[in-house]
Structure formats: C-alpha cells, structure tokens
C-alpha cells in the first residue's frame, strides 16, 4: 500500500506509525507520533546526528523546523474528512530558544481548512509546553479529491 492509500485509514497510533514509516526523511529524523486524548503528540527523539551547535549542544534549527513541518502535514491529513496528501505552500518559523539535545515535542492545530487551502499552526517544546522552543505556521494546498 502506498502513502496515498494509507492515509485513507482512520488515524490511530498504528496508522500514524505506518504513515511515518513510508516517509524516508521522517524515518531518518526518527519522528514518532502518539495519540493522546484525541490529539496527536509528535516526538523528535534527541539524537547526536541532529546537533547544530556542538558547544551548547543544541539541535540544528533547520531540523526543528523540518520536524514541525512534518508534524503539521500529518496532523492535517489526520483531520481531513477525505484524506489526500497536502502540498506545502509556505512555512514560517520563529525560533524562541535553542532546542537542547533531548526529546522535542510538537502539537499542531488546524486554524482554518477551506476547500483548497489549510492553515496549520505548530508549537514545539522540550520541558514546558508553555515555553515553546519554536512556533510555526504553514499553508497547505489541498489537491482536489479525484
């Protein structure tokens, strides 16, 4: 089953794992997802290969962004009535504090989903959800359902 077929399955922890397993870059980064109280918690496990600043050490800012983008896309798919693979239009990322070498979490919310465009906001944190390391928003184009 390819990714387009897989996303038509009801999003559970098991299907999220199957989705992530089909995306080579998500596998490379080690992204995981857990379903908690009808929301999805995305996890980027701390890994030395993701370090950007070796003196702190801190994760590469681009990796934190990549993790948040991937989380937003999967979160949106999971929220769609008729899931299709969304295309990212743009991504805007604010870095608030360096992400240390440990697990990073992300939660997303679909701010608006129209017929063609979706706006998703993402927050990533490590110790305290109220003190995020980065926040981002992204627009997706939703291809017409064939």
């Amino acid at each position: 089953m390819n990714l387009s077929e897989l996303i038509r399955h009801e999003p559970s922890e098991a299907t999220l794992r199957l989705w992530l397993d089909r995306i080579p870059y998500a596998v490379y980064l080690g992204i995981r997802a857990e379903v908690q109280e009808q929301d999805i918690l995305f996890i980027l496990p701390g890994d030395r290969k993701l370090i950007g600043n070796p003196t702190l050490p801190a994760l590469h800012g681009g990796v934190v962004g990549a993790f948040m983008e991937q989380a937003a896309a999967l979160h949106l798919i999971a929220r769609m009535a008729e899931p299709v693979l969304p295309k990212v239009i743009n991504f805007s990322l604010d870095y608030l504090r360096p992400a240390r070498l440990r697990d990073t979490y992300a939660r997303c919310s679909v701010i608006r989903q129209g017929r063609q465009i979706a706006n998703v906001s993402i927050a990533a944190w490590q110790d305290d959800m109220e003190a995020p390391n980065a926040i981002a928003r992204t627009h997706f184009l939703i291809p017409g359902v064939q």
């Binding site: 870059y25 370090i51 950007g52 962004g65 990549a66 239009i89 805007s92 990322l93």
Partner: protein, 162 residues
Amino acid sequence: MPRLSHSDKVSIIEKMCRFIPHSHLQGIRLEHIEGETVTMRLPYRAELVGNPENGAIHSGALTVLLDHTLGTAGICCDQVSATITPTLDLRIDHLSVAPAGKDILATARVYKVTRRIIFVEGFAYCESPDKPVARATGTWVMMPELALEKLLLSVDAGAQQQ
C-alpha cells in the same frame, strides 16, 4: 569589523560546515562565493526523500539547507563578517517540487544590516538558478561580543586531536 578576503570567507565557511555536526552529516558544502553571495550544495540522498511516490526531497531537508545557507551569508557580508548569529525567524515559500535524484543548491545574501539585526534572503534550486524550487527570507541577531573565530579555533583544536 574588518572586511574578510575571499579566501578568508571560504576558509571560515568551510570550517562552519565541519563545525555544525548535522550540516556536516548532510554533506552540505560550499559551492562558491561571489562577492557577498554564498552558494551551498546539499547532495541528494534517498533518506532525504519526503514523498516516496515521486522521490522528491522533503521540504524539511530544504529547510535545513536554507537555514544553514542564509545563516552563513553574514560571513560573506562585509558589514557583518564573523560573529555568532542566532536565527530569529525563517520563512520559506515552496515554489515547485525538487526533481528526484538531483542535488539542491541554495544561494543567499544579506540585504540589510542594522546595529543588531541581519536581514537575509535566498533561494534553492536544482539545475538552474532561474528555476528556484524555494525562496526564503530570515532574520538573524548580531552578537558582535561573540567572535566566530574563537569558536572555530575549537574546531581546529578538535581536528588536531583526531
């Protein structure tokens, strides 16, 4: 701030590529410097694929390359030179899908410097700079009290120990 020669810029940027472990692992390397404009290359690898159906590199891997390249542009800017510059924000427009199997190049330059803030723009492309796959803008904070040279000396020391 002293103006850096072309060879100094090359040397510092190559050291930066080695100093940043994740960029180094990605094989991100300096392609060329033209005046105050820097171009870096991200070699194509199967594990960077985001869409297994078309083999295109993940937009997140582009984010890593653009963050690295725009963040490096300050070194090539004669008003900034070598200071540590943490990223404040980064915005990327995805203009087209990067073709499968191709390296991605990213070009960046500083377009405005204030006392504290560096404004940078850049874009990513595969075959031709006339066909960008993504455009990016970002801001970096200037920390002139933190000299980059000191940090990079630790890379030299590390390399000698190996």
